[in-house]
């Protein structure tokens, strides 16, 4: 069995990591941010955004496998993760705007 991966296998591996790790972090941060800013009771905000997580995640997974250039896609995802964590930090109950 050869251990070196060809370029197709490498791309599949990279896109899968992007989908699983990137998708998880992105969906979590987006749902978290929404749970902070939803203008409802805290418990309902938690429930809505937890349910939302399971809609965002498959969308990101499909995006990771659908984009033409996965390298620039990964860059965009990392950027948006930074923006989302910044916003979450601003809106968190212990954050700046509370």
């Amino acid at each position: 069995m050869r251990l070196a991966l060809n370029s197709y296998q490498l791309e599949v591996l990279f896109r899968s990591l992007l989908a699983i790790i990137g998708g998880f972090v992105f969906s979590l941060l987006l749902s978290l941010l929404i749970s902070f800013i939803l203008p409802t009771e805290k418990m309902h905000a938690v429930a809505w955004s937890t349910m939302l997580f399971f809609v965002v995640l498959p969308a990101v997974v499909m995006w990771s496998f659908g984009i033409a250039n996965y390298k620039s896609g990964a860059l965009h995802l990392v950027l948006s993760v930074f923006i989302l964590s910044g916003l979450s930090w601003l809106f968190a109950p212990v954050g700046v705007f509370s």
Binding site: L28, M43, H44, V46, A47, F54, M62, A68
Partner: protein
Amino acid sequence: MKSAFRQSMAWLHTWVGLLLSWVLFFIFLTGTLGYFDSELDHWMTPETPVFNATAEQSLPIVNQFIKSKTPEIKNYSVSFPVDRSQPYLSISYRDEENKRKRVKLNPYTGEELTPRATAGGQTLYRMHYRLRYLPSRVAYYIVGAATMFMFLALITGVVVHKKIFKEFFTFRKGKKPTAWLDGHNLMSVMSLPFHFMITFTGFLLLLYTLMPLIMNAHYGLGKEGRSAFFNEYFSRTSVEASGVYEAHLDLETLLEKSKVTMQNKPIAWFSLSNADDSNAIFEVGSIHKTLSDSRDKWLLDANTGELIEAQIGQSSSKSFYYVLRSLHEGLFASTPLRWLYFLTGLFGTAMIASGMVLWTVKRRSKALKTGGGTFGYRFTEGLNLSCLLGLPAGVAVYLLANRLIPEEMSDRAMWEVNALFITWGLFTLYGVGKAILKKADFAWVSLTYITATFYALVPVVNTLTTDHNIIFSLKQQNWVFVGVDLLCVFTSFILFFLANYLRKMFKTESVKSGNSNEKFLQEEQA
């Protein structure tokens, strides 16, 4: 651009569909059978009849049972046989050693029912999210991942279809793999809303186990955060006993009072906590009949009979959550709707099965040309066939084991389940072994015959070991027993037909591919 996107989605559909298809097939088949869990419970305990008695009719027996207990029990709950999921009177309480106990009673005579120990329909149904032989947390994560794969396969499946409506009416018979593809499409599109609903609501049932982090961010980490959230969200209130003695109203009066507050809805269950204490609470609920009443209950002060709180209907995210949960569980469904649930569930199972077959069929001609295909191809075909046949065979053996395992055997219920998995395991060993040796065709045919035989045996063994033969069941109008017998015979017929069809198909194919194999060999030599 658009077609490139569709192509990558087709790729994703293929691999996401295949990777966990074995788990998904298991989840869908056992879950579908679970829509008849109570009926299977009844079939698997043929010695106890099904009772039907209202709360008023069963109350004398409840009183008699409570009074017979020394020391008195202070906390107990009672379910009345008014619904399909409750075929006898049952009372749950804690005994002297504070252990949970549940007795099943004849609601007219008070006689305790002791049917054979059986895993029953409940275990079969519970396996579809709890799996078996695994710690529950691991099982939940596997099922959660499988659900996500299913969800992705569904969305990408829709994206891939340019002409979803037109293809729904397309069936190109005989031309493999197009016949398989059209069959797969038919199974998927025919009950697509059901597939989406059942998959997404599957997440909701394990919601805070699969994604606890948002809850943790607001309510704190670990068990404490979880219970803080759950207490608030699910309004879990437990009232401690005060230690001050106060006699509670008798059960007749409490039931009458609750009937008035519940506007004459039939009483399905009640529970009494802290009896003979100033903080005694009486909770009561009705039958689950619509999508939104799954958690309805009424709280009364057991000493005065006054209504403390009516928890009926839900608001905001809770109503959304509970309606979707009820849709998944289908507990509210009447008999015709239950059959529809069962049928669409079977379509879903068939969708997964045809998808698995499609994966190999598409690679088959190439494999035949190269003298049997790669190891990965053969291994996958072996796993596919042993899963598609092994699990249904296992279910038949599960039913057979219920009749054949001696009643006095210890851990009887556990061995019923083991019988299912041993059958599946043997099928897997045989199927994968044969497929690796390039004899998958033979394994397909022989295992289909064996599975058909198992299903044919179920009514026979049932007739020999119980007095519920089909004529008796028809006379008694016991539709559960009639239904199981007929369904097993029907399944067996279909499987025999399928086995014959496969045998003929492989024969003609091997004649053709024999030629191409020779050609291939000649090319190799040249």
